[in-house]
Symmetry: D2
Subunit: 340 residues, 4 copies
């Protein structure tokens, strides 16, 4: 069987290069084209020595492929994806450009008017645990943000069943790779190591995405979430600690069972018996979820963690691609985390 030809637009960020690493081991698709304007002409292995085994040249434009991953930053992705669809490609967009359903959110949160608002309806939000069937039929899938992936997998089981109130607090901790490969003072080793701080207290761009998807979990659910992201000194990983009020009449006794049931057929979500460690997801596509009932306050605490570059980006993108192409959903993603 000939392999599907796939390409990556903008391979030079951490998301792009992680896609290349994972696709290199994929049994059913072949990575044949990678682009990156600033370093076009170089060998991929010159820029990323760990990928020198791929023997690919970085091109200025995407070559002849059947499936495209766009790892362009927001706004830049929107500008090219319409054209790719017109060429007949299936497209997985890793930016935020097709995640929000309401075009009016883009000027507010991302500072640009959406050039293809008509595609917002068509685009499928690529969280397989919630939208597997739609993803299978889609030609354009918007890969979820890293924070929303962790948060939605933490809260979906209880939100979908209407067990929690709308008063939600999300305290999330992210590794530094979430800030991307672009240079910034805050991402320098000497500033980020041995430090912890909150950021984006005025409102993080992943908040509308979280709110939109929480709302869609159950008709009438009107969440009012406070979301405070933090930067912690690690390269990979997101840990989301979510606090919600269990509705009256609910107790915590069946919580873990409810979560286990909800995720029992999911290949990449594990309900963990112990508080999960981001390190147990390093390099893998797994999400660990751990619900706890705080007896003293009657509050629900759900902790989830992922590798932000895998389940939070490149791995989930490949999971979506697998579904879109009718392949085994776990193909190329079976590796256990690299621990320690």
């Amino acid at each position: 069987m000939s392999k599907t030809r796939v390409g990556i637009i903008n391979v030079t960020g951490y998301t792009g290069v992680e896609l290349a690493r994972l696709l290199a081991g994929h049994p059913a698709v072949q990575l044949v084209s990678v682009t990156g304007r600033s370093v076009a002409g170089k060998r991929l292995g010159e820029v990323f020595p760990h990928l020198s085994g791929l023997h690919l040249a970085i091109e200025a434009e995407l070559g002849d492929v059947d499936f495209a991953f766009s790892a362009l930053p927001h706004k830049e992705g929107a500008a090219v994806i319409g054209g790719l669809l017109e060429r007949g490609l299936k497209v997985l967009d890793l930016s935020a450009d097709f995640r929000l359903k309401d075009a009016l959110e883009y000027p507010q949160w991302y500072g640009f008017d959406h050039p293809w608002p008509q595609l917002l309806d068509e685009a499928v939000y690529g969280l397989p645990e919630l939208y597997r069937h739609k993803i299978a039929a889609a030609r354009l899938v918007a890969n979820p943000g890293c924070y929303p992936t962790a948060v939605l997998l933490a809260l979906a089981p209880v939100a979908k069943q209407g067990l929690i109130g709308g008063d939600i607090i999300i305290d999330a901790k992210s590794g530094v790779s979430g800030a991307g490969r672009g240079l910034s003072l805050g991402s320098q080793y000497c500033e980020a190591s041995e430090d912890t701080a909150a950021y984006a207290l005025g409102g993080h761009r992943h908040l509308p995405e979280i709110i939109q998807e929480l709302r869609l979990l159950k008709p009438g659910f009107a969440p009012s979430a406070t979301f405070v992201p933090h930067l912690v000194p690690m390269t990979r990983g997101i840990l989301a600690t979510c606090y919600a009020n269990l509705k009256e009449g609910q107790s915590g006794t069946e919580l873990k069972e409810l979560y286990r049931e909800f995720y029992k057929d999911e290949p990449f979500v594990r309900v963990s018996a112990e508080p999960p460690h981001t390190k147990h997801t390093w390099g893998s596509n797994y999400c660990l979820v751990h619900p706890v009932f705080d007896r003293r306050t009657g509050r629900l605490v759900v902790i989830s963690c992922i590798d932000n570059l895998v389940k939070g980006a490149a791995g989930q993108a490949i999971q979506n691609m697998n579904i879109m192409l009718g392949l085994d959903e776990t193909a190329g993603l079976e590796s256990a985390a690299v621990f320690p």
Copy 2:
């Protein structure tokens, strides 16, 4: 003027050794005796090369001092402190043994019956920003826990004025030195580096201390707090992110002003204009506090950070000692953080 002679019981943990470092530079007291059973007889500089300039031997028993710091673990401290007081010493206890006012909490949270319940009333909770005058008159001061220090300094201004409801969430992130110098798998570099996880989800021992002190801030205040501590990969530092509901009629506009006013005469608390970084407190006795009003939800978020070994332990202990001895409260503690 002759210097006051001070000693440290159990110098070999991270709290003890940090006390020694800070006391070495103190202008008005002299560290003359340090104990540590397992390494008694060794030079302090053999065990801690950075302190070889102190030229002290580690003794089995405390020598002739006027003031004693006990850095023994909980339960062990309680056993010896009564005797020290009887010798006429002033004592600063860094364990939890005299923090809780209700003797019945000890069996529940610390697993032992308190041997000196009559001292619980006399002991003063050593948070100078709340109890400065009592500390000045005390012969026994109980140094607050690291988490409670960060949390109470974050919430005191609003709790004391009755501005928040009792429904509080505390999401705290601590460096690994909080776990002490004892060996444990979770504290090994290969396990703790590049990792973030929550722990003590069944109830952390600092919770009753936080609740006790929050209650005391305002008559009738009945906080119901969920407290989730996390371990992040850094040696020093605690960042506490506290979530509370502002009472009706309150708005966020005067929040920063209220905090600035509350702490305007405090030498070691700074209300920061930007989200604070633990790294900006590294090695120093400062606490940075940053209140934010979340307009979207009407919720109050207060972030505070300290160096857990300084303001969260040894530095605060020396601040208390300064007050107890009538010295300048900042003596020996003026150093800025070591950054980066």
Copy 3:
């Protein structure tokens, strides 16, 4: 084709657990038995959550397998391996117990008399780049130490051709996982992070192994090596910086070409154009080698790096197993490094 049944003795150290991770993705063998005395009876996933997908129980004794990896510490391995061979198993020993050819070295360096000196001749030193054919025929292979692997791959091309003098300096930097999973103060996060130090200045146990194998590279070669290992704050990785004198008449011009030629058919050794980074080998079986001629002094500097747990331990063990079983040498080891 039925898969070969393999087992791991002592899965609970970092080497054992890394073997399990890599074997989980191996296409031609099946990991059917893992032992670990202290935690026998537990599920593997309880001890190592990232391996919960393996659905294995930790046993007290090795089950029915055709091939055994022994990840026991030195001395303990020697005690059981004879018995395994008598059962007809092929054995890969990850300890030092069968690396040294001279039984008299064991009392001196490892503090015990070798119980099976007659096996020292039979055992093959498992560095495939040097001993591939012998490994293919062996029933007992001694996996090289992590430092020797890095050093020998750095120096073999020039030593084998007699291009360097015997006056060699090896300055090696290792991540903390090299110290194993046992608890020690020096491996605690608070002690090892943000620190660099040399250790074992009186003579590291890997020195006789390095000397033995350097000697065997060319008849008459009598190296006199100074080997100084250092601990640096990272979990995985060894970087060896090797200094040697090029013999008269040699120049550095053809150095890189010589290395490229020497390693041109090697699947896991890459001669890098730039100074190699340990991070580019993280989780992978690759060794990067970078020879440099220092024009100012006429000296040869060769820098090599590996992931100490993969090419320095578990990965190389699987590479050896592949050769011993007649499988594709790269089976189960093709993954690129996880970067960043």
Copy 4:
């Protein structure tokens, strides 16, 4: 006694900001002016929150001071220092611009023609352990590089006495702050953490400085040094491992005694009994030196370590200032390292 007024030109790099931190606690001088072109007009505490207690504004031009520290990059320092001297100031230059005695080295190593070659003779190389008396009389002192400081303190005792041959290897490991506060990909957390690599293999700029000063230690000494610097994942610290051949007739027995004698009156150099850890110098002005005789090869190994921002830059600069101003040499520098 009125304090000497001092200023820092270019306070915004890691060296400048560390100077400000240390000067803040100096008993005999007052920091009254700090400059920084890009952020002129801001409060120092806005840019560096840990220094908000200093209450200084960052100026465009140096104010009225008696003593100036120039923390400008090389070439830029040379352009302004002549003018400062003409104003009658004493100057401590932290760049390389007045370290090398031979003006011809500047085009080769630093890429510019020296604008003040006549000052090269006058400038004193600011290593107090070697040039204390000259420093006391100087109006311009060139602060040594971080690597040369560590290396010269390691080798001076034996080189000065003619005990070693000229064939020297220096394998040095530096924390990331050595690369400065300017943005670079290699200094980003995600690239530098959990990584070790060599760099500048073609020749590091500190090499001519090391060679120059080694030569001056003993007439006729003609060192031929290979210097390989490495980057390791820590913010502060340099560990230099120096390898040299002891001249015939020498043995290692009196080595430690010789080092102890050589440094017996030095306030900031300690000959350590155990292999030194960079972490034991964190934030302090100490240099730890550890000579070892390798019996197997007859080679001398000397390991030294410093905090590159303190003894390797700002601390040494203040030590020099103390000497130039006739103050107690240790004033403002007595703090022990912050450990852990």
